[in-house]
Symmetry: C2
């Protein structure tokens, strides 16, 4: 195991002090920023996430802000999802594609007002694409990265912890909606969302200076709830089928391949980049697609590169994320499989980095 070498380029967050005090043991880098990956152990963090409540430093979900008269037009250019019915106060998961329909990011769009949006991004410099389009099309819109750092509260006791800090009104927030709540004189957007299937919220912390005060208040208020510092959990996210840009998909994939066809309203999302290519894809359908895959045998090693999926000697796909699941007592995985072999129940083999092969099964759905 190698160490991570710290530098200013791997940005700290407004919550780094709290993360360090909580004994973070591992990091990844996401949007040029530190993202914790483990505190106690990945397995221990996983069990705790499923039974209690955790506070996650996900400041690395940076925002791209679109502001001005052309903000709505630009936002619709970015995604094949039809945004006409979206209201301020809503969050939409939006695939972002280039002119060929290749995925550039899979963020959550937050509509603050008709002329103001935040795009809460996955791991790529989407800011550069949005700025390039705004400049090229001479749009009247300001595009930048504001001082906004999401802090997630995740786990079955999230409502209780959040209510203790922000009042019971927080319980009324519906899924993928947000409301404005006050903390230390700041108005903060709080959404019912997050990168787990255990329930919870994301607080869009505007103003770095209130980061640690909010972290500390949550930790203090959650003592009786067994609150802990946590982070997106590899096991839970694979069980839950939460895709990761850069892991499970890249710009080589269309949304349809990623199982995101339902977010592509290519007939009505007029003006979106990549529409021509995606209309074609929608008509013909993808020839490979994301599937949940169960891999036999003992715990697989860390999946840090694509593993080939085979039917006999023929390569029919690849695994992009995999780990041992303690709750399901099997290896859970996310892969992309060709249509000839993607039906649930298909028996395949996965080739591990050491050259060995494991029996594998295409599943009907994910494990939650």
């Amino acid at each position: 195991m190698a160490l991570i070498s710290l530098s200013r380029r791997l940005r700290r967050t407004p919550f780094s002090e709290g993360v360090e005090a909580a004994g973070v043991k591992g990091y990844t880098v996401y949007n040029h920023m530190l993202l914790p990956t483990v505190f106690h152990s990945i397995e221990d963090d996983y069990h705790h996430l499923k039974r209690a409540v955790q506070v996650w430093d996900v400041a690395c979900e940076r925002q791209v802000e679109l502001r001005g008269p052309d903000a709505g037009r630009l936002m619709q250019m970015l995604t094949p999802r039809d945004l006409r019915g979206m209201l301020p106060g809503q969050c939409y998961y939006v695939p972002i594609v280039d002119e060929t329909g290749g995925m550039l990011n899979d963020p959550v769009a937050v509509k603050l007002a008709e002329d103001r949006w935040w795009v809460s991004i996955a791991d790529s410099d989407l800011l550069y694409w949005v700025k390039g389009l705004a400049y090229g099309f001479r749009l009247d819109v300001l595009v930048d990265e504001p001082d906004v750092s999401p802090l997630a509260v995740q786990g079955p006791k999230s409502d209780d912890l959040m209510a203790a800090v922000f009042g019971d009104k927080v319980r009324d927030i519906r899924f993928f909606r947000f409301g404005m709540f006050e903390f230390l004189g700041h108005q903060l957007a709080i959404a019912r969302s997050g990168y787990s299937k255990q329930g919870g919220f994301e607080i869009y912390v505007e103003g770095s200076e209130i980061g640690m005060p909010l972290w500390n208040v949550l930790m203090e208020a959650g003592r009786d709830l067994d609150v802990r510092a946590g982070c997106p959990n590899l096991i839970e996210r694979i069980e839950s089928g939460l895709l990761s840009y850069g892991n499970d998909m890249t710009d080589e994939n269309t949304p349809h391949e990623c199982g995101l066809g339902r977010f592509c309203n290519t007939h009505t999302a007029i003006g979106c980049v990549g529409r021509d290519a995606l209309l074609r894809v929608a008509q013909e359908g993808p020839v490979r697609q994301i599937r949940s895959i169960e891999i036999d045998g003992p715990a697989v090693p860390a999946c840090d590169q694509l593993w080939q999926i085979r039917a006999g000697e023929q390569v029919v796909g690849r695994v992009s994320s995999a780990t041992w699941s303690p709750d399901f007592q099997t290896n859970v995985a996310i892969g992309m499989v060709r249509m000839t072999h993607w039906n649930p129940g298909t028996e395949l083999a996965v080739e591990l980095p050491d050259g060995s092969r494991r029996d594998a099964l295409v599943k009907e759905g994910f494990w939650n």
Copy 2:
């Protein structure tokens, strides 16, 4: 010290196998790819780099390829450096700015032909900016990331090692020029360049499959030269004044602030994005600029965030990179200082993360 958690998203390189076999001890992440930071120790790697020769996996210097009739026009849009006199076979260091003159990247442009360029990028997804401009301006140009992974050979014995593998003709390559050389049937661009001041080359390895064969041939041929696996060295790069995008500059800085005004031919680089803003900057001059700074006392800690530079109680700048230099027996640093205090010989103070202050001195130049 925390571990780095590996995943497919932090891409391996064609040379990762060699890097691991050589006992890499630390990584950073650069363009979503693993970049080694230390093998023996940073100090030991440093002494070795200055006396022998090292092979560096710098595959993370990804290429953005521009190809087609509008490639030259697009390339000039990207940078305020006048490219009219540039010939195929040349490499130019080119600041890339947005419409306000803020730095987006500081890559090396490699001109392969009149209608074909590689941009060898620093740590940001420049591909997205270039694609956005190409799409917005409807240019006839293909923009993508080719399968090209630079491998650097650095150190005073670089010429001997390279000549042993590619023949004596490699010695004739002039600084920031490249020639084409054959390896296993592939034609590879080899430039006299690299991220150190110890001399050397960068091999643009086109085709991942020849990565490890080339790595092994270099290691074998360099036995008598004491060749080792190495990596960009923190101490040497600060001594040499090699700036790092994301560390020493971000999109908040103009090229002039970074001391790169000589690469901004804003009067003649017609068509470049950000020209209006940079003409203004060129006229008025920057109010703060990169300086080399010597920090008194024992070795400073890792500089993973900006350190304030003070004149009395007034904040007059910030340090962005700093480390102990064994050869110069002082702490060497790179910082940005306001014009009121940027003259060589100015005595200042640097505030470390623990709140303590160290005497500091603005230097005339860097340490090489």
